[in-house]
């Protein structure tokens, strides 16, 4: 499905398409880019986009954004996702960047924004804590003002790719006596500070994506506070709004469906009754994607006319993740007995993996995709948001 594009937008789409075709690094085309690339490899595309001026579609022009319209941003998102490019690190560009240019002071903007754009600084997100989960307002990590520093103590968890990070943006409690949401501040912490320890969390797919981050008496310069003390919750909510957009994942789902179709064709002979069952199951998912894509396009068209999409992001998150989980399940089923095998991490060990190449990441994707309905505000929470904000329940 396509937006009805103006000639200018159509030309823009063609430009994006051919730029990707000509410039996407071949060494990033590995079986599972999310787990198989080194930090340096995963930054290759980031640097290419930066050089082109396309690294931060969301950012205003004055801070280094390309100055695109809503439609152009959508086209870019659609094309990069359809082409299977690894998106630049969201924590840097999509999350902390906009917080800094919206709520940060001039010094913070000058210090951090260029390094985010260039990929020089890798950011991770210090929101979740062992006790908090989807209820972020219960942050317990404490920051106590001591002269021109904060002394930070606490434990962050599920910190994605903290093992690569140069900086972490943290929600910390600065006023223990205030109500949960009003005593929180937004603090930027250098990962090289003494007292910061990263411990890997291995997930059920065997990969190392998330971490515990321990903060023990970490001295953080007060100049790293974003905005006002105790106003962090406002900034955090602003950021979560950005996190939950573009979670429909239409491009990714479409690519995985196409791959699934090839697997079914290769694995299950047409005379096997399972073949027809798979075709039907795939068609159902394709219709789910079609409906979600149509919804996304409708929302984009409304946004282009200046209408606030409201909690549409929650709808995209719920359906986008459910759809992708269904695709990974079906793919795992399609490879039959080979679904019993799983690649060993780290992948560089290059151990033997049975079956055709197209099935080699099916098990790990299936297992890894279980996280989608949990993270970024669980799907139960997203339903609560729609119930409250849309249905008025």
């Amino acid at each position: 499905m396509e937006l009805k594009l103006s000639p200018e937008d159509a030309a823009f789409r063609d430009e994006v398409r051919s730029f990707i075709a000509e410039n996407y690094p071949p060494e990033m085309r590995v079986p599972n880019p999310e787990t198989d690339l080194t930090k340096e490899q995963s930054l290759l595309w980031h640097r290419i986009l930066h050089k082109k001026g396309w690294i931060a579609p969301l950012w205003p022009k004055e801070y280094g954004g390309p100055g695109w319209s809503v439609t152009q941003r959508f086209i870019f998102e659609q094309e990069t996702s359809r082409a299977g490019t690894l998106p630049p690190l969201a924590f840097s560009v999509t999350m902390v960047g906009p917080v800094i240019y919206t709520f940060g002071n001039e010094a913070q903007k000058q210090k951090f924004l260029p390094r985010i754009l260039s990929g020089e600084d890798w950011w991770c997100q210090g929101y979740s804590e062992p006790g908090s989960g989807s209820d972020l307002a219960t942050v317990r990590t404490k920051a106590v003002r001591n002269g021109d520093h904060y002394i930070v103590n606490g434990h962050k968890t599920w910190t994605t790719l903290a093992q690569h990070a140069d900086w972490i943006f943290c929600l910390v409690r600065t006023d223990p006596s205030a109500k949960p949401q009003s005593g929180i501040s937004f603090l930027l912490i250098d990962m090289k500070s003494p007292g910061v320890t990263v411990r890997p969390i291995i997930t059920i797919d065997g990969s190392h994506e998330v971490n515990d981050v321990f903060l023990e008496n970490v001295r953080v310069p007060a100049e790293n506070l974003i905005g006002e003390e105790n106003k962090g919750w406002t900034y955090a909510k602003f950021l979560l709004g950005n996190e939950r957009t573009s979670m429909a994942g239409i491009g990714r789902s479409t690519r995985y469906i196409n791959k699934l179709k090839q697997i079914v064709k290769a694995e299950i002979p047409a005379e096997d009754p399972a073949h027809l069952e798979f075709l039907r199951d795939i068609a159902r998912i394709e219709l789910d994607v079609l409906a979600l894509e149509a919804t996304e396009l409708r929302v984009v068209a409304q946004m282009a006319r200046g209408i606030d999409p409201g909690p549409a992001a929650s709808l995209f998150k719920i359906r986008g993740t459910e759809i992708f989980q269904a695709i990974t399940e079906l793919t795992h089923r399609a490879i039959g007995n080979y679904g019993l095998a799983i690649r060993e991490h780290p992948v560089s060990a290059n151990r033997f993996m049975p079956g055709a190449d197209y099935g080699h990441t099916a098990s790990e994707k299936y297992l890894n995709a279980r996280k989608l309905s949990i993270y970024g505000g669980s799907n139960e929470i997203q339903r609560n948001i729609i119930a409250k904000a849309v249905l008025g329940l």
């Binding site: 968890t157 019993l340 095998a341 060993e344």
Partner: protein, 376 residues
């Protein structure tokens, strides 16, 4: 239809429970899975000593005569503890085949070494293109003297790296997908021409791709009539796997319920949210139904009921879907913790996912259930 266990069965259950509680907690299992070999000889010997490896065999074959109900009891407990040792492969699959179609000489020669724990076996039936079809066999065997010579390849053979002997399905006549012409052979895993490429499975076991090049094998059962033997073997395997799945489902439900009563979000336990209460009620119902079907199937297996195979497929499908639902929700309700390698919940999830592949997924078996009805 609730099974009232006999004194002997109750004794079997309590002794397995005690052994696993004392020696097979989650940490012990983690060490076993991470070890070089990937399973524990020590545990295997303990199983032998306790008589578990003898339990299902008939007394005539040197066993304890417990039949499918004893398999159910053992596997249910194994499911609760995620035991990785190859009980299904050695005792249920290979042992069952030897007992049911082996000659008296073969039974006398092989079964005692299974019972005393000294030999490990597995069954190699799956091939690259076979999917879940037992009759889809391209590996070939030709007679040479009193033996046969096998050439071909088997895939995803669970426990092959641990096994001393393999039972291999190979075609002695007919076309690749004919029902007739499939025969079974005992092959020494270390024999010349056997090539193993090993790897780990998602549920922490070891498996191998098996190459067979001019390998000497000993016929097991009647030549060309291996398919019926394999089908009956699959029914028994399903009985065992269903019991294991029900054990795992029960543990997931207990863990999830416990967690929902202690985990606090938004100032209250998550178990107080109605949406999660209803979810856990559905998980409870799924467990109850699965447990009942598991017992129903095991009783039918014991009695050798007509229509047994159809019931086996029905149970594999229904319990498979129940397991998938419970495992999905157990991970979801545990949140991020459910995603970690550290917590046992994800490991139950993976074992249930594996069970749902072994001998056919729930979609395959619901279709077979329908087809066997239409054929009746």
């Amino acid at each position: 239809m609730d099974i009232q266990f006999t004194e002997e069965q109750e004794l079997l259950r309590s002794s397995v429970q005690r052994l696993l509680r004392d020696q097979y907690d989650f940490e012990a299992r983690r060490k076993i899975v991470a070890s070089e070999e990937g399973f524990s000889r020590k545990q295997w010997d303990a199983f032998a000593e306790l008589g578990l490896l003898a339990a299902p065999f008939s007394e005539g074959a040197g066993g304890l005569g417990g039949g499918p109900l004893s398999t159910m009891i053992v596997m249910h407990e194994f499911g609760r503890h995620l035991v990785v040792e190859p009980f299904v492969e050695t005792v249920v699959l290979a042992g069952g085949l030897i007992e049911h179609v082996g000659t008296p000489e073969q039974q006398q020669s092989f079964i005692p070494e299974i019972i005393d724990g000294s030999k490990i076996w597995t069954l190699a039936w799956t091939e690259k293109a076979s999917r879940f079809d037992l009759a889809n066999v391209t590996t070939r065997a030709r007679r040479e003297g009193s033996d046969h010579i096998l050439t071909g390849a088997k895939t995803m053979v669970i426990a092959a790296p641990w096994a001393d002997y393999l039972i291999v399905s190979a075609r002695t006549s007919g076309d690749d997908r004919d029902r007739g012409g499939v025969s079974l052979f005992v092959v020494d895993r270390r024999a010349t021409g056997v090539d193993l490429r090993s790897f780990k499975t998602i549920d922490g076991r070891r498996a191998a791709e098996l190459g067979l090049h001019e390998v000497r094998g000993q016929l097991l059962g009647a030549e060309g009539e291996g398919l019926a033997a394999l089908e009956a073997c699959r029914d028994r395997a399903i009985g065992a796997l269903c019991a294991e799945a029900v054990g795992a489902i029960g543990e997931l439900n207990s863990a999830t319920l416990e967690y929902s009563k202690t985990r606090k979000q938004f100032g209250t336990t998550i178990g107080s949210f109605q949406v999660l209460q209803h979810r856990m009620v559905d998980m409870f119902i799924a467990h109850q139904e699965a447990l009942s079907l598991m017992q129903h199937l095991s009783l039918s297996l014991s009695a050798g009921d007509a229509g047994l195979s159809r019931l086996a497929s029905g149970a594999k499908s229904k319990i498979g879907y129940a397991g998938k639902f419970v495992a999905d929700q157990a991970v979801q309700l545990h949140g991020g913790m459910g995603m970690t390698d550290e917590l046992n919940v994800g490991h139950y999830f993976k074992r249930i996912s594996s069970i749902n592949i072994q001998f056919g997924d729930p979609a395959f078996h619901v279709l077979r259930y329908a087809q066997l009805d239409a054929a009746a």
